[in-house]
């Protein structure tokens, strides 16, 4: 095959929806990096400011401006992988130009190494292999599952496999009724955003359905960037049609005609799976024009990010899709009225959409009943770190944390005890001591000044230096801070320095005051969730591990 | 401008023709860019692929001097597509039927054969402009500095009249004035046909008014234009008072100018620098400059604004008003006993109907656009809201004419001239401001890369540019801004006196020189 020219690539993409990212990826795939000439041509072709394009490209971790670029190995040094020897692996691969990358979402089976469009996993440089992402273990509690119910069926990722256990039946049923009825069904189920924010899904769909302006858009937020979270990956890899069906349902309910699945860069295999599933759904008449023979059109495109945690924040994601600098937008207005291209837009997480597909098939009451007590439904938990059986678990909301850790996942490794866990990946900070007595629902966890969020839980056993764990976490936030708002941009840096011990007071009280003052202002004044959540790390560290903090400050002298 | 600058942010269709606004009126251009950012469509007609062209939704690269053909073609399309604003035509204009009949012969295909712009683009531009809710036209010297400058302006006026894109917010026909007070100079009566405030010298009432004001009989004859005066130096014209103009360099046909000046018995020049023109003077009078002067100036939107002195002038330099008053006194004329700029301006206001409602103190903050016909009047940011100066807008039946000189075997290339962002006019000011040289240290001839090759030139090398009147040497710059067969340079640099070559013809009405079109030959040196 001939290598396409710059102009051919630009011509291929420039009239597509949201063309910038796929166009840059096309160049990246062709050359391994984005040259000055490429950027000049792209800026001209898409009529963008060259300065802005240059700035935006440098924002993304994985866009390389120089060779070998994409071809060089990038090794995950996220919080779990750094416990598993990521830094030794980077050293071992240094001769190949290896660099570190933030958590790449393989915490259940570390350590991922990205090379070109392949992900290798392995703990040492001679054991690296390409492997499909692990299926969730069979539900150890015997509780009824929602999104995982059929995921372990063979061939589930194909259209036929999906249809075998009732796939697209929910959609077919919904298409026979009015869109309002579907929205009401979702509202009645009590489904709330499973990406972390917990906003009632039915209300969001209704807001978009009611908002003036067309075309409307459905965005599936598959930018699963939270360290310790890998649940969306398993859904998309093994049950992609459930996500697609969820998006089509959202489109039908809201009147949207276009959709994007915004996938994080670090899941290249997932992109192929999704592309294939999308093609299948198109051929089966579930996507495109006149879906189900009705006057219902929905076009779905997969768009791949380029390495920026902040793009999991919905307004950054929208800016990224639009080819703009991926800073979060000021809210209000919210995406439901001013989303993609300033038009009404649903942004839902992968798990939320897959749940919606199940609800459309099995009903609101069924979903309601899956939770414990008053809680509705289930939540996927990505469990990793110092735990015997890491992996994805679908828990009934309200399940005690201890049940998950000890009974379902086998507890700490032999001879160890659990010292602490994180919540919401890293964003919820640490729970330890009495904090470990929570149940897995927002009210319980929030009572301990944390939150469940996207459902990533990283376990630290009693060997671990929690100041170091906190430093790894804060460094991640500093690395991923977009730089727009002052408290987050400066605060994450200053907290990292204080946790690393290379700046800040040498006297404990002053250290604690500075860290507390930084945290308080970040929490109150930051413009988005990143800066608000990051200080939960230091807050919980100081609360649960004052002696470790004291030792750290003393050692820095 | 028919409309104020603030209106530049309001059109939904913008038609820029013969204006390199981002370089020549950059601050005005920022307002157009805001309209574009809000979604306005931009139509740009210019022989050169200027920055505005890069921003355009449709770019019409016409051959130099063929504007009338393009605009007739557009008028034809608007008529043919039934996009004429019937209500506006009926209520506000005259001669529309004759005009609509007249343009039937000028198809876009005919226009293409003359101006070289693809017919489909002419159609697109015409349709967008005609369908605009608020369509605005902007132009500059690329329209007026032609032998058919008046025809060009009338063609634009025809387009605005037939679509009703005038007299409303965000519309209009908007020439951008090139100099800080060129508007004010005309307002103040420095015109051979008008007293201050555009009162015709051949109007007996105006004559009587000024005879009374100036205390002597006034000739009812119009004076001659500067262009004619230069032609008559040494004959009718024997003495000249030249205030702050480097006539020799900025005017076309430099040899002719120099010859004319040398034929005079007496030249007095007021200026701030020893210009090429001042070098020929019998008396040179040092004037104060910007930043040293109190006074009044009027911008392109007819806004009357105050100038204030910040620093003292060098040595014995004096304000223009003082020098001219002294000169008037010494001629024995009455009415030159001024002691301040304020007194001078207030006298002007008392004699000018367009300034009748203002005085020096009232314009402190610059909020008045003339006409301000009486005290208490708020000024007139927008012209032609209810009627035109003559009542109804008159369609003019314009026809295309070739430029004064067209390309030939001997001179096969079109030269067009203009300004650059970093230099102003003949660089008496920008050339003496530090740092400008860092960005623009010399003039160069912009040549299409294919022509650079075809003509055996080298990018960065030297070329000889020859026309019927002479030749200059100039460095070559290869750039896609120039289309094939057309080259560009500015007249700003004294060492590349390009106005040696220009000026074969003048508009018969305004006597504006055809500086924008000049057939030349380009050879490697």
């Amino acid at each position: 095959m001939n290598t396409p020219s710059n102009q051919e690539l630009i011509a291929r993409w420039k009239d597509e929806e949201a063309p910038l990212l796929p166009l840059l990826h096309a160049f990246h795939d062709r050359d391994g990096y984005l040259s000055d000439e490429t950027l000049r041509d792209v800026a001209q072709g898409l009529r963008l400011s060259l300065a802005d394009l240059y700035g935006t490209v440098t924002f993304y971790h994985h866009f390389s401006r120089f060779p070998p670029g994409q071809a060089a190995p990038r090794v995950c040094d996220g919080p779990v992988c750094s416990l598993r020897g990521a830094h030794d692996l980077i050293e071992a691969l240094r001769k190949d130009g290896a660099t570190a990358m933030p958590c790449a979402g393989r915490c259940d089976e570390p350590i991922p190494v990205l090379e070109g469009d392949k992900v290798f996993v392995g703990l040492t440089h001679d054991s690296l292999n390409v492997k499909p992402s692990p299926l969730p273990p069979k539900n150890p509690g015997g509780t009824e599952e929602c999104v995982f119910a059929s995921i372990r069926e063979p061939g589930r990722s194909t259209l036929d496999g999906y249809r075998k256990t009732g796939g697209y039946e929910g959609l077919e049923r919904a298409l026979k009724s009015k869109p309002e009825e579907l929205v009401q069904l979702i509202t009645d189920s009590g489904l709330a955003g499973r990406g972390g924010a917990g906003f009632p899904t039915g209300r969001k769909w209704k807001a978009v359905a009611d908002a003036p302006g067309t075309p409307k858009t459905i965005v599936c937020n598959a930018d699963e960037g939270e360290p310790g979270c890998f649940k969306d990956r398993v859904l998309m890899d093994h049950d992609p049609h459930a996500v697609i069906e969820g998006m089509i349902l959202a489109a039908y309910g809201t009147g949207a005609t276009r959709g994007f699945l915004y996938l994080r860069y670090e899941y290249p295999e997932t992109e192929k799976i999704l592309e294939k599933a999308t093609e299948e759904a198109k051929s089966a008449g579930f996507l495109g024009e006149k879906i189900g023979g009705k006057d219902f059109t929905f076009h779905l495109s997969v768009r791949r990010g380029a390495g920026a945690y902040i793009c999991g924040e919905e307004t950054s994601l929208l800016n990224s899709l639009e080819g703009k600098h991926p800073f979060p937008r000021n809210r209000p207005p919210f995406p439901v009225t001013h989303g993609y291209e300033d038009l009404p837009t649903v942004v839902n997480n992968v798990e939320t959409l897959a749940s919606a597909a199940a609800i459309a098939r099995k009903g609101a009451d069924w979903y309601q009943g899956l939770g414990m007590g008053e809680h509705a439904g289930t939540k996927l938990i990505s469990l990793s770190g110092d735990i015997r059986r890491p992996g994805n678990y679908e828990v009934p909301i309200g399940l005690p944390l201890q049940t998950l850790l000890e009974d379902w996942a086998g507890g700490a490794p032999e001879g160890r005890t659990i010292q602490a866990v994180t919540m919401a990946g890293l964003s919820g900070g640490f729970l330890a001591k009495d904090g470990l007595g929570v149940t897995l629902d927002e009210p319980s966890i929030r009572s301990k000044s944390s939150f469940l969020g996207a459902g990533g839980i990283i376990v630290y056993d009693d060997r671990r230096d929690m100041v170091e764990a906190a430093q790894v976490a804060m460094q991640f936030f500093a690395h991923e801070s977009c730089g727009k708002c002052f408290p987050c941009r400066i605060g994450t840096q200053r907290l990292t320095e204080r946790l690393r011990g290379d700046a800040g007071p040498r006297e404990l009280e002053a250290w604690r005051t500075e860290v507390a003052d930084l945290g308080r202002t970040m929490k109150s004044l930051s413009a988005c969730g990143l800066g608000i959540a990051a200080p939960l790390i230091t807050e919980s560290l100081v609360r649960y591990f004052p002696e470790q903090v004291a030792r750290h400050v003393a050692a820095a002298q | 401008m028919s409309n104020p600058l603030v209106d530049m942010e309001k059109p939904d269709v913008i038609f820029c023709i013969g204006t390199n606004m981002t370089e020549c009126h950059p601050v005005a251009a920022t307002r157009l860019k805001k309209a574009i950012a809000k979604g306005a469509k931009l139509i740009v007609a210019d022989p050169r692929r200027i920055e505005l062209a890069e921003m355009a939704d449709v770019y019409l690269p016409l051959r130099v001097g063929s504007d009338v053909a393009l605009l007739l073609g557009m008028a034809h399309v608007i008529g043919r597509e039934c996009l004429v604003n019937r209500d506006f035509i009926e209520q506000r204009t005259e001669e529309s039927e004759a005009f609509l009949e007249h343009v039937k012969q000028f198809t876009p295909e005919w226009a293409e054969s003359i101006c070289g712009v693809p017919a489909k683009d002419i159609e697109q531009a015409a349709i967008w402009y005609a369908q605009a809710e608020r369509g605005a036209i902007y132009y500059t010297l690329g329209i007026t500095e032609h032998i058919c400058g008046v025809d060009n302006v009338q063609s634009l006026s025809n387009l605005a009249l037939m679509t009703g894109n005038i007299g409303r917010e965000g519309t209009g026909i908007n020439p951008m004035r090139g100099q800080n007070n060129i508007q004010g100079a005309g307002d103040s009566g420095a015109l051979p046909n008008n007293y201050p405030g555009f009162q015709p010298v051949d109007d007996p009432k105006a004559q009587a008014k000024f005879e009374k004001a100036y205390g002597r009989p006034m000739s009812p004859e119009k004076g001659i234009t500067k262009v004619t005066a230069l032609d008559r130096c040494g004959e009718q014209i024997r003495a000249m008072l030249i205030c702050g103009e480097n006539t020799l360099v900025s005017d076309p046909d430099r040899k002719h100018c120099e010859h004319a000046m040398k034929a005079l018995d007496h030249i007095v020049v007021l200026d701030i620098f020893m210009t090429e023109t001042a070098e020929l003077a019998d008396v040179v009078l040092p004037a104060t400059a910007f930043a040293e002067t109190d006074g009044v100036c009027v911008n392109t939107e007819r806004r009357v604004q105050r100038l204030r002195a910040a620093v003292p002038p060098p040595g014995d330099a004096k304000p223009d008003w003082w020098i001219l008053s002294q000169l008037g006194k010494r001629m024995g004329a009455p009415g030159f006993e001024f002691t301040s700029a304020k007194e001078v301006f207030n006298e002007l206001c008392s004699l000018s109907p367009i300034y009748a409602g203002i005085d020096w103190d009232l314009i402190e903050h610059g909020e008045y656009h003339w006409p301000i016909p009486e005290p208490g009047h708020p000024g007139t940011p927008m012209l032609h809201e209810k009627e035109f100066p003559r009542g109804r807008g008159l369609f003019k039946l314009v026809e295309y004419r070739d430029p004064a000189e067209t390309i030939s075997e001997k001179f096969p290339v079109w030269l067009t001239t203009g300004r650059r962002l970093q230099a102003y006019h003949t660089r008496t000011q920008t050339g003496r401001s530090s740092g400008i040289d860092y960005l623009l240290s010399e003039e160069s001839l912009e040549v299409n890369p294919a022509d650079v090759e075809a003509w055996g030139l080298q990018d960065g090398g030297w070329a000889k540019l020859s026309g019927t009147k002479g030749s200059v040497n100039i460095r070559v710059k290869s750039t896609m801004r120039s289309p094939r067969g057309t080259v560009f340079c500015s007249f700003s640099f004294a060492d590349v006196p390009v106005n040696i070559l220009t000026g074969a013809g003048y508009d018969p009405v305004t006597q504006t020189a055809e500086l924008k079109v000049c057939p030349v030959r380009v050879e490697a040196v």
């Binding site: 930084l518 | 601050v27 100079a185 008072l241 205030c243 019998d282 008396v283 100038l307």
Partner: protein, 364 residues
């Protein structure tokens, strides 16, 4: 929007305990500017630009909303209960300013740096934030190697407020300045991080005038940093094209040291171009004519007194009139000089000779 047309209903909210009115679409910051005695502090706000919400200094408390909100990006709604200067907000602002101060090499910069250059210093002093807390790495990498003579690029003083990026895009429409990297590594830059001359920059100077720290500063004006005396400002109009931009000339004693755009200039609203911003020093150029000159018998121009020069000038015109008639004298007025010059030029011809042998330079 029926509510805008139906203006009978006055919109009000409560700010610091007082009921205040507002218009639809106004932000809380705009309302506070009108109604609150003490300024609501900000570093990323420029009223000509879209509110950005970066610095978070303008946060206010709104009843019913848990965290303080940025007043610059929050629209006022009827019935809101807003507090702008609680102890808690003031403490956050002080902490924020301590944080901002900690990333900069210096807080005090010469006022000649630019129109807004004292904003950061003023706030740091108002909040007594020079505590030296939060020390650590400094952000921004300066470009002393950029040889352009107009815009100093001292990014060590940059606080990433993005005003320069936004003014270049929104106000100027040039899109020359952008932002590279992210987080603490954020760097204000141009295409490929090069020199301004090689970018889309037109040197209009708007970035230096909106910069609140002097990171982008007026190189030319700063040459007069050590000239003694206070800076005096004089409002006048730019001497170049016909747009008529208002400028505030900066002078120290008799020396013209720089130009500031007039933010309230009716034709330009603070915008300028390279010529208006930077090409002013021709005024005090050594080649200025400073004395009248008359041509001697030897054919050479020599200095003369005003009396001699004016007599000589007048005599020449008298001679021409006597020998060749009153229509043999012609005057050309300048489109560059004030109205008074043009007016008196025509009056000179008309009142002295009774003809209209006068024109201006608009025909070429």
């Amino acid at each position: 929007m029926a509510t805008i047309e139906n203006s009978t209903q006055t919109l009000t909210l409560t700010m610091n305990g007082t009921e205040v009115t507002f218009s639809p679409g106004e932000t809380l910051y705009e309302v506070a500017q009108r109604h609150v005695d003490r300024d609501v502090p900000t570093l990323c706000y420029d009223e000509r630009l879209e509110a950005f919400g970066a610095c978070r200094l303008c946060v206010v408390e709104v009843e019913g909303i848990r965290n303080p909100v940025a007043s610059c990006t929050t629209k006022a709604t009827a019935g809101m209960v807003v507090k702008t200067h609680t102890d808690g907000l003031e403490a956050h602002r002080r902490t924020l300013l301590e944080m901002v101060a900690s990333e900069n090499r210096e807080i005090d910069v010469d006022p000649l740096s630019g129109y807004a250059s004292q904003e950061m210093k003023t706030l740091v002093d108002r909040y007594e934030a020079r505590t030296g807390r939060f020390q650590g790495k400094q952000s921004g990498k300066s470009r002393p190697d950029d040889p352009n003579p107009f815009i100093k690029r001292d990014y060590d003083l940059c606080i990433s407020c993005y005003r320069c990026v936004r003014v270049c895009a929104e106000q100027e429409g040039d899109y020359a300045i952008s932002v590279a990297n992210r987080g603490f590594e954020t760097q204000i830059t141009t295409e490929f991080g090069g020199f301004l001359k090689d970018s889309a920059c037109t040197f209009c100077g708007q970035c230096i005038q909106t910069c609140p720290t002097g990171a982008l500063a007026d190189h030319k004006a700063l040459r007069s940093k050590d000239v003694p005396g206070e800076v005096k400002k004089t409002r006048t109009i730019c001497p170049y094209c016909g747009v008529g931009c208002s400028v505030d000339l900066m002078s120290k004693g008799d020396k013209l040291v720089g130009v500031l755009p007039a933010m309230d200039g009716p034709a330009n609203l603070g915008a300028l171009c390279i010529k208006g911003q930077f090409a002013y020093d021709f005024v005090q150029h050594s080649e200025r004519l400073s004395t009248p000159l008359v041509r001697g018998d030897d054919g050479v121009l020599r200095p003369a007194s005003w009396d001699e020069a004016l007599d000589r000038a007048a005599q020449g015109f008298k001679d021409a009139a006597a020998n060749h008639g009153e229509d043999s004298i012609y005057a050309i007025a300048s489109g560059r000089a004030p109205n008074e010059a043009a007016y008196l030029t025509q009056k000179f011809i008309r009142a002295t000779f009774g003809t209209s042998q006068v024109d201006n330079c608009s025909r070429a």
